[in-house]
């Protein structure tokens, strides 16, 4: 592929800048922080999924030896929530609990054991309320209303959009496919349990060290929750021991230890148990989907109508955003002239769902890619060919007003097809073995922040001093993906030094410029662009000083190998540090800032802020499976993946992100599920997690993980730093549908839901043997009172990106792609 310019650092495999610390035990995670006079917190959690709190008696706990402080909901009058429209929970419950595990009280004591003893002495009287276990129950029982602020009954929110006349287009289609899919919820399962330490510093201000992916959002939210000026709060995001979206909320315990520290004037630590992490959740929403898709007889899409029903759990968390994402990205892979999306999120009495890797886009992609496989099968077209014939062109707008820039999807598909020997092997393998293909796309950062503002999404400061030191500051957060490594690489590339010579200071709201955090795959693109701008500004100072010193024109000055030199005359050369000396003499102390704001969303209708991104990454995956028809057991011997990364910053890390995504995707496809059961009524009727342990919540071990053949496709994107797109989330999306499609190729049954477990395979095989439809999946999509859709004409139908009042008919349907 095009590589264009030569790089010193970008694209070369390297030890990551924080690699040594990670292999020596030096990396300081939140639970590794210990401070003098530190106390420990434990939370009392609700045993009921839905109940009124009648009374809380803390008197026995308060006299327990070694106890320092008891807190309850009375101490926390301000509601919290990560997005402005979702401020619906309290750090400790006030008046009502809505899921098993909701924090009700906290004890701070000299050690964890004492705190746990005192927690047991707190007496809470509850009055149990009827409970809602699923979206279906929520719709059927609007009177058992979990929140007053919901749109109606237990419908938290609905979203609806129509881009062009979908019904008319479906009516004109040669075929219309209607399918139901269900995506079970699952959780992040980062190996690090959440931990936080809050401490009052010498000036009486608060510092919070925490396992968080979003220190800036926590900083803002904490100021509000505590009623303390943000300038008096410093949030330090410790390197996360895995995040995957699970450390993106303002968590109850973060507010509790902060409040306790301010009350006591001493450091307070909490580290959640694994079971508590399962109950805190904020993971993948269970989603029921209905897809109606029209195609021509030669396999071109004419229209799609997608309906989603999300089970949100007990609180908002990121839910309204997840709901929008459940319909946002269906259009960025294949030409889709007409598109209608209706989404609904319900409240249920279970731990809240939120963001997990691929946030909200994973579930509908699962449905879309399986349905395409069914379409290809019905039309007798190779599923890879079907996809290749309808890929969105580069530099175009989609029906729902997303701007696609570079798109390397065709090359991704061709690569996995070639390398898996797809054409020779699909449909031709021995009984029980099969291949499946699927693709996906993901954002390189969300176009809008989670609270409305028009300021930059990322800021970077670079300081140089006469010692030759390059120090770079950014609020971005290391969660394992290599955030610091990208930062160092960008600055090193511009200044011609080694990444290992760049000191990164990150994720600290007290000293680093704002970066919105490690979510939505935004760090490489947004932080990277800001870093390049900052580095180029400081480079300009070095150029001016070096040109003067070397008596050459500034355009002649180049950087590389720790030197600043004249391109045409290598004898005219300064060591990097010498150049700094001259520049510091000429300009004074050397530093510069850079910032990045993504392009404004192309659409102007309400909700058009969810989906836009500076660029989209693309991935294609072929999965091979072996299905044992006796036991239903599924083995995956190999996966082929090609990911359109734009440009690779560090191939070692990029490959790790791809393979980690394949790993997590296989877990979601085959075994992972966050599921609950009702305890018998005579016990408590509680909705409890079925498997809240690392042993029983199944994830792939080293013995289960197949070989992965990874290829990075480089098609540099002009909006991205040196062309580099995201790689942390996109490669997950195609895995689950590719597994389902491979199962069909292997044994001829359709499993239209995840996880695809042996019992479902056996059930489908039994149906097949009986001559019935060999399918396991949802049978029914309930009637949902979606709101009236917002009508927006697609770009090629004369639309201008605004909502139209009319039904969106009659406009010029001649399709002309608007090319940017």
């Amino acid at each position: 592929m095009s590589t264009g310019r030569q790089f010193n650092t970008i694209g070369k495999p390297r030890r990551r800048v924080d690699g040594r610390a990670k292999v020596t035990g030096h990396t300081r995670f939140a639970d590794d922080v210990t401070l003098p006079r530190m106390l420990h917190a434990k939370l009392l959690r609700s045993p009921h999924p839905h109940a009124e709190i009648v009374s809380i008696d803390t008197s026995r706990a308060e006299t327990h030896a070694g106890m320092n402080l008891v807190l309850t909901g009375k101490d926390f009058p301000v509601a919290i929530g990560i997005i402005p429209v979702g401020q619906d929970e309290y750090p400790l419950a006030r008046g009502r609990v809505r899921y098993v595990g909701e924090p009700v009280a906290a004890v701070i004591a000299k050690d964890e054991a004492t705190a746990a003893e005192a927690v047991d002495l707190i007496e809470v009287q509850y009055r149990k309320l009827p409970t809602i276990a699923s979206s279906q129950e929520g719709l059927e029982q609007p009177d058992v209303r979990i929140h007053k602020h919901s749109e109606r009954g237990n419908i938290h929110c609905t979203q609806a959009y129509e881009f062009g006349d979908v019904d008319e287009a479906l009516a004109k289609s040669d075929h219309v496919f209607e399918d139901l899919f269900f995506y079970e919820g699952n959780t992040h399962l980062a190996i690090e349990q959440h931990a936080s330490v809050a401490s009052m510093d010498g000036e009486g201000k608060l510092t919070l060290w925490s396992s968080t992916q979003v220190p800036h959002y926590i900083h803002r939210a904490l100021a509000r929750a505590l009623g303390v000026p943000a300038a008096h709060i410093r949030v330090i995001a410790c390197p996360n021991g895995g995040g995957f979206g699970g450390k993106c909320d303002l968590h109850n315990h973060e507010v509790v230890v902060s409040k306790a520290s301010l009350r006591l004037g001493r450091p307070v630590k909490i580290c959640l148990t694994r079971e508590e992490v399962f109950y805190m959740h904020r993971g993948r929403h269970p989603v029921l989907m209905k897809l109606r898709t029209g195609v021509t007889r030669d396999g071109k899409l004419t229209a799609m109508h997608l309906q989603t029903l999300l089970d949100g759990g007990a609180y908002s968390s990121y839910g309204p955003v997840t709901t929008l994402y459940s319909g946002a990205l269906q259009t960025v892979t294949y030409d889709l002239p007409h598109y209608k999306f209706e989404g609904c999120r319900t409240f249920t009495n279970k731990p809240p769902c939120g963001a997990k890797r691929g946030h909200g886009t994973v579930q509908p992609r699962f449905g879309q890619e399986i349905q395409l496989d069914k379409i290809a099968n019905k039309l007798c077209i190779d599923p890879a060919e079907l996809r290749l014939k309808m890929i969105v062109p580069p530099n175009s707008l989609t029906a729902n007003w997303l701007r696609v820039g570079s798109i390397g999807l065709a090359e991704c598909i061709r690569t996995v097809v070639d390398r898996s020997e797809w054409s020779n092997r699909r449909g031709k393998l021995p009984a029980g073995r099969g291949l499946g293909i699927a693709v996906g796309a993901y954002l390189c950062g969300a176009g809008l922040p989670i609270y409305f503002n028009t300021m930059p999404h990322s800021g970077v400061q670079v300081l140089l001093d006469r010692s030759g030191q390059v120090t770079v500051f950014c609020g971005a957060t290391e969660v394992g993906q290599g955030s610091d490594d990208v930062l160092a690489a960008m600055v090193a590339e511009v200044l011609g030094v080694e990444p290992a010579d760049v000191r990164c200071i990150t994720g600290d709201t007290g000293i680093t410029p704002v970066d919105l955090g490690s979510y939505s795959s935004r760090v490489t693109v947004m932080m990277g662009n800001a870093a390049i701008q900052a580095a180029e500004r400081v480079r300009a100072l070095l150029v001016a000083a070096a040109a003067e010193q070397l008596r050459v024109a500034p355009e002649q000055i180049s950087f590389g190998g720790n030197r600043v030199f004249a391109v045409d005359d290598p004898r005219k050369s300064l060591r990097f540090q010498e150049a700094i000396d001259f520049a510091e003499t000429k300009f004074g102390t050397l530093g510069a800032v850079g910032s990045y704001t993504p392009p404004p969303p192309p659409g102007h209708f309400k909700g058009s802020g969810v989906g836009p991104s500076p660029a989209y990454s693309y991935t294609a995956v072929v999965v091979e499976v072996e299905v044992d028809s006796e036991t239903g057991w599924i083995t995956v011997p190999k996966v082929w993946v090609a990911h359109d990364i734009g440009r690779t910053v560090n191939p070692v890390l990029a490959r790790g992100q791809v393979e980690g995504s394949i790993y997590m995707g296989l877990g979601e496809a085959l075994m992972e599920e966050q599921v609950y059961r009702r305890l018998p009524r005579k016990l408590s009727d509680a909705l409890v997690h079925k498997i809240p342990s690392l042993l029983e919540y199944k994830s792939l071990t080293s013995l289960d993980m197949p070989e992965v053949d990874t290829v990075l496709i480089e098609d540099p994107d002009p909006n991205c730093p040196f062309g580099a797109k995201e790689v942390g989330q996109g490669p997950l999306l195609p895995v689950m549908p590719a597994v389902a499609n491979a199962v069909f190729d292997a044994v001829g049954v359709r499993i239209d839901e995840v996880p695809i477990t042996p019992d479902k395979i056996l059930k489908a095989l039994a149906l097949k043997a009986q001559g019935k439809e060999p399918r396991v999946g949802p049978e029914h999509f309930p009637a949902v009172a979606y709101r009236q859709p917002i009508l927006v004409l697609p770009p090629w139908a004369g639309g201008d990106g605004n909502a139209t009042k009319g039904p969106g008919k009659g406009a010029n349907e001649t399709r002309e792609r608007i090319v940017s």
Binding site: R15, R16, D18, G19, R20, A21, K22, V23, T24, G25, H26, T27, R28, F29, D31, D32, T34, A113, H188, L189, A190, I191, E192, Q193, P239, N240, G241, G242, G243, F244, T273, R274, V479, G480, Q481, G482, V652, L653, R655, G656, E659, G660, S661, I662, Y663, M664, S693, L694, L695, S699, T701, S702, L703, M705, E707, V708
Partner: protein, 178 residues
């Protein structure tokens, strides 16, 4: 399995013990119910050893006790008196990284780095027993260490590279059985 029954009053009284960790002798005063994991992290400030469940399920707390990988969250520190305990902090020789550490850092064996110390120690024990392990042997040795980031492949490659370097450096070493 030793069954330890301690009366409640006695359980609250601290015990004084000598522990040998990374060839350093420590005299430690700790509550007798504490696990080796807790004593390492909380009383010896050796926080390189991690925890992900404290129930023996994730493998993040593995250390070597007398050369064998052991889940430190399931072991009472009391039972480790007189044993040789090795943690990630003792893996490098002075400033020089152990070949496993260098290979993990260079080849993407560590992403978030949280499961890494335990995997390094487990791999060290593997290479002591088998200096030239097959891929299948490595997989089996790591089956009790969960990693959520890497998908394991770069971990295998790092172990294989380190094993090769160690065989080159010390060709006779594998004949000495621990």
């Amino acid at each position: 399995m030793i069954e330890v029954t301690i009366p409640e009053a006695a359980a609250k009284r601290n015990v004084r013990l000598r522990l040998r960790v990374n060839d350093d002798e420590h005299e430690v005063l700790f509550a007798p119910y504490k696990t080796l994991l807790e004593v390492l992290r909380e009383d010896l400030n050796l926080t390189g050893t991690k925890h992900g469940c404290e129930l023996g399920e994730c493998g993040a707390c593995a250390v070597l006790v007398d050369g064998k990988p052991l889940l430190s969250c399931l072991e009472l520190a009391l039972e480790c008196e007189g044993c040789r305990i090795a943690t990630v902090e003792g893996l490098s020789r002075g400033p020089e990284l152990h070949p496993l550490q260098a290979a993990f850092a260079d080849l993407g064996g560590a992403q978030c780095g949280y499961c890494t110390p335990a995997i390094l120690m487990t791999a060290k024990a593997l290479l002591q027993d088998e200096p030239n392990p097959s891929r299948e042997h490595i997989k089996a040795a790591l089956a009790g260490n969960l990693c959520r980031c890497t998908g394991y492949q770069q971990i295998y490659e790092a172990i294989e590279k380190a094993a090769a370097l160690m065989r080159e450096a010390r060709p006779m070493r594998h004949e000495v059985k621990q």
